[in-house]
Symmetry: C2
Subunit: 218 residues, 2 copies
Amino acid sequence: MPENSAPLPPVADLLGLLAYAELVAFDQMAADARLAPDLSRRAALSEMAAREIDAYCRLAERLRELGVEAEEAMRPYVGALRDYHDQTEPKDWLEALAKAYVGDGVADDFYREIAAFLEPKDRDLVLDVLHDSRHADFAAEELRAAIAADPKVANRLSMWARRLVGEALSQAQRVAAERTALAELIASGGGDVSDVQGLFKRLTTAHTARMAAVGLNN
Amino acid sequence: MPENSAPLPPVADLLGLLAYAELVAFDQMAADARLAPDLSRRAALSEMAAREIDAYCRLAERLRELGVEAEEAMRPYVGALRDYHDQTEPKDWLEALAKAYVGDGVADDFYREIAAFLEPKDRDLVLDVLHDSRHADFAAEELRAAIAADPKVANRLSMWARRLVGEALSQAQRVAAERTALAELIASGGGDVSDVQGLFKRLTTAHTARMAAVGLNN
């Protein structure tokens, strides 16, 4: 079955994307936890990974309510998300944290924007399952401490962050080309398609501020 | 610091072993989830992995109540559990399930026996965080179906299970030689040390029954 064959209701399309993103984030964080320099940091990241699965379960449950199997709703996104993660495998603990901080930051901002077009029930669910700030705070603190201890780290991680964003944009374009339901969702929800530029600008501004907050440069 | 330098209260010694076992089981199940043949099985195993972290958090919390850092209590077991998992890396989905089914089965039986020597509060905690039967049932069902579809699979997995048990016993002996606190726990709790043979017999009987239940032979 080709990846984009199943026509889903627009909201299921978004929930499927989010559900698969949670499943993959779980997987990635669980693997990253192995890179932790000690047991308490490893436990901290493992705990955060477990929260992704809780979020996954809630999204899968909502999809079932909508009469859609989670597997069916997630399938269109498998290729793009797998390729993103394959292309951006962290080599060490700091790269793993920078990826979580930068990548999840942009993704969460994006989902938050899209959630505004949903019915209240689904909007609240999406806003609720997005990463709590605990994860970003933990990553930011580790990154700041590492850069303070060795300022050269900032250059290496800034380059890494630019690669992450480039790879994410490339996969996002692929998804946008293959899936029109998300675009429909924005249109049907009263979203102004001409505001895509505005959306892009807001995401970029927030990303730049996030980078600066830990001492990385764009 | 040598692995066995810190003298801990006996109960912290057991809780530390269990906590680290949960952290490692999380890690292993999260990695095994990648071997799943489809997204729904992958999600099922990821969910089970997340439950291990919930258990870890409860054990770490109890250790803190006892005035012991989880990291300190876990440290003595890092070498043995890491070596066990390094020596028994599953090559495919069925090996991963057989490892979870056989290995967690024996380990849970062992913890359940030791829990009998604890004060009620800790005993209830340990019994509560042991794997619920959902995980074993899932693994058993998958193994039975695979053996029904191809009886030759039973031979390969039976050999694999024997290797798992051999490797686990070898690491258990290592832990027993390095850590006397668990032995003290049994003695102080009124446990009859001469019953170690009885314990061993009960574990072996339960293991044999578990193997037979899915069509594997000892």
